[in-house]
């Protein structure tokens, strides 16, 4: 039997202050840079026109830009997309967005036409065009936020029924932490926020929640056993007991994520990045956000006596958790 991290007894929670500092620094860094420069939204959210071009030969980006400028399409964003023969052109000029509702298809047509005039009819192919009106973009942005908030609410209710409100609240707070770290990650990696990335964020939330639930399920079980130990100890024990499972599952998920990242192509890459980061932040938050928050909630709103045999008396002593000696088995 091959065993990894079996029967461990690490005092994970002991390091929560250090971890909190690290994650807060990361979030502040990410959100701070958001304040300086807005995030890179895809045209689905901003409205605008996008063309994906496939050239026969690697073109000179400067020539593309000057050709578009001459055609009166200013401020278009030209980006390499995968290989050096593939590019996306994004026209997001607010005037063009406004004009779009009246027929921005002509912008896409014009871009295709002038580039074919410049490079030759067969030198490039327009493989994808997208156009989004400003109102649709607004709706989608609202929809994404509603979706995230609604999934929180539903989770809160479900976990309150299956566990109890303290666990539910801790799980949701841990998951919200992941929203912030993921947004910070997107910003720091200069990834484009598209609908697919939003779907990725929601998947990360689901995954992180999974992970938290697995640990909390252990906590629930260990509490039922009524050991004479503090919640702090129970949490640590539960994290240690689920450690082999965590390692294995994260390994298989990461394997799938990495093959997406490497092989699935440019369109899926941002999604795969989000997922890869999600595995990290989901694991982190289950241990270093969910557990300390649960401890904090227990201290603030202790269970009434009798609801649990040992924990109501044990909870106050969890204040002493800085001493490593408390975590024993």
């Amino acid at each position: 039997m091959l065993r990894i991290l079996h029967d461990t007894n690490y005092d994970f929670i002991r390091w929560w202050k250090v971890m909190a500092a690290i994650t807060i620094a990361f979030i502040v860094l990410g959100l701070g840079s958001l304040a300086i420069k807005p995030p890179n939204y895809s045209i689905e959210f901003t409205g605008g026109t996008l063309l994906q071009l496939e050239f026969a030969q690697p073109p000179d980006v400067g020539v593309i830009r000057s050709t578009l400028d001459q055609a009166g399409i200013h401020g278009a964003e030209i980006q390499q997309f995968g290989t050096n023969r593939e590019f996306t052109v994004r026209a997001q000029d607010p005037r063009e967005v406004a004009a779009q509702s009246k027929g921005a298809e002509s912008i896409a047509v014009t871009i295709g036409k002038v580039l074919k005039q410049k490079f030759g009819e067969n030198a490039l192919k327009v493989v994808r065009t997208e156009g989004v009106g400003p109102r649709v973009g607004q709706e989608l942005r609202r929809g994404a936020i509603i979706a995230i908030l609604l999934s929180f609410l539903i989770t809160l209710v479900y976990l309150s029924i299956r566990f109890e409100w303290r666990f539910a609240a801790a799980a949701v707070i841990a998951t919200s932490h992941d929203v912030f770290t993921t947004i910070a990650f997107l910003k720091l990696m200069h990834l484009e926020i598209s609908l697919t990335v939003v779907a990725g964020i929601l998947t990360v939330l689901g995954y992180s929640l999974n992970d938290t639930i697995i640990i909390f399920d252990r906590v629930r079980e260990n509490l039922r056993k009524g050991r004479k130990e503090t919640l702090y100890e129970t949490l640590n024990r539960s994290i240690n007991e689920t450690l082999p499972r965590s390692v294995l599952t994260h390994a298989t998920v990461l394997a799938a994520t990495l093959s997406l990242l490497i092989f699935a192509g440019e369109v899926i890459r941002p999604f795969a990045w989000v997922m890869a980061f999600g595995v990290v932040t989901g694991t982190f938050s289950s241990i270093y956000v969910a557990a300390p928050v649960l401890l904090w909630i227990e201290r603030k709103w202790p269970r009434s006596t009798g609801a649990r045999q040992s924990s109501s008396t044990a909870t106050p002593t969890s204040r002493t958790r800085r001493s490593p000696a408390t975590a024993t088995r």
Binding site: S101, L150, L209, T252
Partner: protein, 552 residues
């Protein structure tokens, strides 16, 4: 549950899945030797989204820029029927035309390679009117008034702007002239705002732009002045000064006189003698003298009215106005016209005639529609995405299989067998529910392969713990499954709830992702709990001897 029943259920599910996924014959658009043709092909009945098979997605809304529409929802319902008729006639396999929300129409056209044409067909109002040209010289009488209005208004007119219009590329001109009048007015206005040029509203500002044409009510405007003229006509003061009960319409064609190009402008009686509502049929044709044209037929009611009206207007000129644009030169009415007539297409090609016939047959749009969102994806890109996703999926499976076999040995092999069934069941569920497979959906599926084994990992770790507590193999397996259950159920249900929210609030590709996720969760619960349990039971029952050790 009896082991036999368990095996029967699993085999039944496998049979059902294979049957669901068995390739069947479908009619499809395929590209052969560069030509798009319909053909029967055998393929796995998984619906591919537009991003995987290539095609076009359009979202349309009521265009209220020309005045509010009172009951938008009803207007959209009516427009939906017309759009659906048109798309049906357009000839796309498996098109989607549906209402989204209260005020939006979604059109999905798989395999469309000419998005502009598709959009024109969908969006064209196709409002046909027959109007008699003005015989009273109403515009001439109004000219002094119009000139005075322009002088008073002291309009800052961009002479330079109208000049610049002339010099834009042919693409620019094309779009300018195919756009309807209000669009042109807007673009001209923007131009005048951009180029702050000198005043041109001097004496005779209006009259110097127009000259008498070849028939009553016809005027010629030099091609270079069209922008400026459109701008004048859009001004409220000018509109107030125009002759009453008349309308002014541009021609869809240009005429050349000497070496100058003119665009005719028509003054028409505002009340049409008849509209296109009585049309029963329209078909394209080519005549040696008039080029491409569309012949139409009216119903009895329409024919009767048409005859009465035209007999009253013998020797008058009748303009055929389509979407506020005069098609061809208005013909003179020689005698009463009955049920049949024709629209000449000017210099346009046969395809334009075909498309016009199509939209006339399908009926006019009750309200103008604007495109709020569109996507067009080439078929090759979709094919490429499928290949890449399959590669990624295969490698993900290989890695997961390796990890499971390496770590759990024999039990890992059971989990891998269950994973194969997981893939089969999930695809079958997607095919069975006719879910649309999108690129994010495929990515979600690849990801779910990594997540699907989680339940087995949980169970196996539990079994290991039970074994470590000195339980017998049989008890350890039973206890392992039992203890892992609450964690598996809770985590899967909460993920399923998140996926349901995604489905509710997502659109297009994201919805496809949510569907894949949901199908994956269901299949993973079945395989990792039920199937793997059955495998263990088979293994335990293999011999009468008690299994003393388990490779896990």
């Amino acid at each position: 549950m009896n082991l036999k029943y368990r095996i029967a259920i699993i085999l039944g599910l496998i049979a059902a899945s294979i049957w669901t996924l068995f390739p069947r014959t479908v009619v499809e658009r395929v590209t052969r030797n560069g030509q798009v043709v319909y053909d029967t092909v055998r393929r796995v009945p998984l619906k591919r989204g537009l991003d995987l098979q290539g095609g076009m997605h359009l979202a349309l809304e009521v265009d209220e820029s020309k005045g509010p529409v009172p009951d938008k929802s009803k207007a959209i319902d009516n427009a939906l029927k017309v759009v659906r008729n048109r798309i049906d006639e357009f000839g796309v396999s498996e098109p989607v035309v549906q209402k989204a929300g209260n005020d939006r129409i979604i059109v999905e056209l798989p395999g469309i390679d000419d998005p502009q044409r598709a959009q024109d067909v969908v969006q064209k109002a196709a409002f046909l009117e027959f109007q008699i040209t003005d015989k009273t010289q109403a515009l001439e009488k109004a000219l002094p008034r119009l000139d005075a209005v322009l002088k008073d208004a002291k309009v800052t007119v961009a002479v330079a702007a109208s000049g610049a219009k002339k010099d834009t590329t042919s693409a620019g001109l094309q779009s300018l002239f195919t756009a309807d009048t209000s669009k042109k007015a807007d673009s001209a206005k923007t131009d005048s705002a951009a180029a702050a040029a000198g005043t041109a509203g001097g004496p005779g500002a209006f009259s110097k732009l127009v000259q008498q044409g070849g028939m009553p009510g016809e005027y010629y405007v030099a091609q270079s002045d069209v922008g400026l003229m459109t701008q004048y006509l859009a001004m409220p003061q000018v509109q107030a000064a125009l002759p009453p009960a008349k309308v002014i319409r541009w021609s869809s064609d240009t005429v050349s006189l000497g070496n100058r190009v003119y665009r005719p402008l028509y003054v028409l009686d505002a009340k049409p003698i008849i509209t296109g509502e009585f049309l029963t049929d329209a078909k394209p044709n080519t005549s040696p003298t008039e080029g491409n044209l569309v012949q139409f037929t009216m119903n009895n009611e329409g024919a009767r009215r048409f005859r009465t009206e035209t007999s009253r207007h013998i020797k008058d000129f009748m303009a055929i106005v389509l979407d506020q644009r005069v098609m061809g030169r208005p013909p003179v009415i020689q005698s009463a016209i009955g049920a049949n007539g024709q629209i000449t297409m000017g210099g346009k090609d046969l395809q334009a005639a075909q498309d016009l016939a199509l939209v006339l047959r399908a009926g006019s749009l009750p309200v103008p529609l604007k495109v709020v969102d569109w996507r067009q994806i080439g078929a090759s890109l979709g094919q490429d995405s499928i290949h890449k996703s399959i590669t990624a999926g295969a490698i993900a499976v290989a890695l997961v299989v390796f990890i499971m076999l390496f770590y759990y040995r024999f039990s890992g092999a059971l989990a891998v067998a269950a994973l194969v069934l997981y893939i089969l069941y999930t695809l079958a569920a997607l095919a069975g529910f006719q879910a649309v497979l999108t690129l994010p959906g495929l990515a979600g599926f690849v990801l779910s392969i990594g997540i699907a084994v989680d339940a087995n990992v949980l169970i196996f770790e539990r079994i290991r713990e039970e074994l470590a507590h000195g339980k017998t193999v049989r008890t350890a397996i039973d206890e392992g499954f039992r203890h892992a259950m609450s964690a598996i159920v809770d985590s899967n249900v909460s993920t399923a709830l998140t996926a349901a929210v995604l489905y509710q609030y997502g659109t297009g590709p994201v919805r496809g992702f949510a569907v894949t996720l949901l199908a994956g969760i269901a299949a993973s619960m079945i395989t990792s709990i039920f199937v793997v349990r059955t495998f263990f039971m088979i293994w335990l029952n293999r011999s009468r001897d008690v299994q003393t050790s388990l490779s896990i």
